[in-house]
């Protein structure tokens, strides 16, 4: 099964730009350590055959939300929902079941700083 781990983080302004909140809260040198830990964990997942794809996202002020209603397309600036935490990145993993995907997500360094939504990738023809 494939699961997507959606990493939600708080954003804060820094020098006129939104950045992941922990960069502001922890300071630059600790934020570098977090980034290093994230890379190391990505490599670990890769070497163990769990990692399919993972990317951080650029700040949410670059986001635009698209919807079509009654044949008319409209766009809204910013992420879909107004919440404190925004989608900050994702990792697509291969896992045996939901509990294994949860275990993988729980060890992501960012799990300590934000929250991670784990969702199975829909398989055509499968129920649920």
């Amino acid at each position: 099964m494939r699961y997507i781990c959606l990493v939600y983080l708080e954003e804060k302004p820094l020098e006129g730009q939104l950045v992941p909140g922990f960069v502001v809260d922890l300071g630059m040198s600790r934020a570098h350590e977090v980034a290093k830990a994230c890379n190391a964990y990505d490599e670990e997942l890769q070497s163990r055959g769990h990692l399919i794809l993972g990317h951080p996202l650029s700040p949410s002020d670059n986001a635009i939300t698209v919807r079509v209603r009654d044949g008319k397309m409209s766009t809204t600036d910013g992420p879909f929902a107004e919440t404190k935490e925004v989608l900050g990145g994702f990792i697509l993993v291969e896992a045996r079941d939901l509990n294994e995907a949860i275990r993988i997500a729980a060890e992501m360094p960012l799990a300590k700083l934000g929250s991670i939504e784990v969702r199975p990738i829909h398989v055509a023809g499968a129920s649920g």
Partner: protein, 406 residues
Amino acid sequence: MTALEVAYRTHSRRVLATLIRVLGNFDTAEEALHDAFAAAAQSWPREGEPANPHAWLVAVGRFKAIDRFRRRARLERALPELSAQLELEGEAAVSHSDEEIADDELRLIFTCCHPALSPDARIALTLREVAGLTTEEIARAFLAPVPTIAQRIVRAKARLREETSPFRAPSLSEIAGRIETVLHVIYLIFNEGYSASGGAQLVRFELSREAIRLGRLVVGLLDEPEAVGLLALMLLHEARRETRTTASGEIVLLEDQDRAKWDRPQIAEGVALVERALESRRFGAYTLQAAIAAIHAEAPRASDTDWGQIVSFYDVLARVEPSPVVLLNRAVALGMRDGPAAGLEAVEAVLATGALDDYPFGHSARAEMCRRLGRVEDARVSYERALRVARQEPERRFLERSIARL
């Protein structure tokens, strides 16, 4: 299936059980299991399967876990004592003989059936960690949302970490104190796989088979008559699986089942086990139920059933476990032995307690006695009452057919 998939099916459950003992933690052991099979995928096609795959997988899994501890210790400046301890324990901790491996599995069942966990949590954890089912399969079998089951498992593991700190396998005396719970979990797993309620057929079949495997494991390692009785009970029920429903899922009553299709070798094994448990004189409810199932299984035709003996076993069972359902079954057996008038009186005495108001087969038992006495209207009233409380579709259709036949 590839050779490695076959190896996974054959070895993964037992390798995990040993790794949980060696590494002392569910999550670490699951990671190690994954890594061991990843390593096998690399080296086995090249170098061939090792002579002792279990030992190979455990050794590799353990090594990878130590390796990961070390790397994380460097990264997070934590856990150095853990990897040091693991290295000290060394290769001696890795099980080799079949007996030691079975020991690990049994230990794991008892850990999953820890008294601090709720019955639901024990079942979910046992199914995933011992039986090797995925979270999704467990959710399908219990018709529950996948995240609900996933959380139940996460919480159960967390609770076990609190309860057994540091993580420790149960001692022999604790095992003796938990045997009842373990047998109950195995029985629930079996029933879940055997009952007519929904869910994917294949998973259900696998649940029953796994329950029987666990039952055999317990019987093989502990001298416990009730474990023998439970295994007998499961085998005797399983022997009739094919004939209990039609191809379209309709209920077929015991008296209407095609006895030629019952699995005779399985029945013979069940009967021998019942005899062994009865001889011990320390038997309980499982053995008594198995004894009743054995009498049914041994009757060549429904009309040959020895109802006298069945009533005697129900009399003993009602003393050991005086539950309303046991009392009802006893009343029905009495009706078969002494005729519908005596049966009706006994069934009505049980129903008068009110404990079975929501149990469709209490009302349908009364209906059946009335029908045999020619009291068609009374029978109809009771069948309709049963229909009002029936929850499962096959039950409802069965009751509707019974009403139509009146």
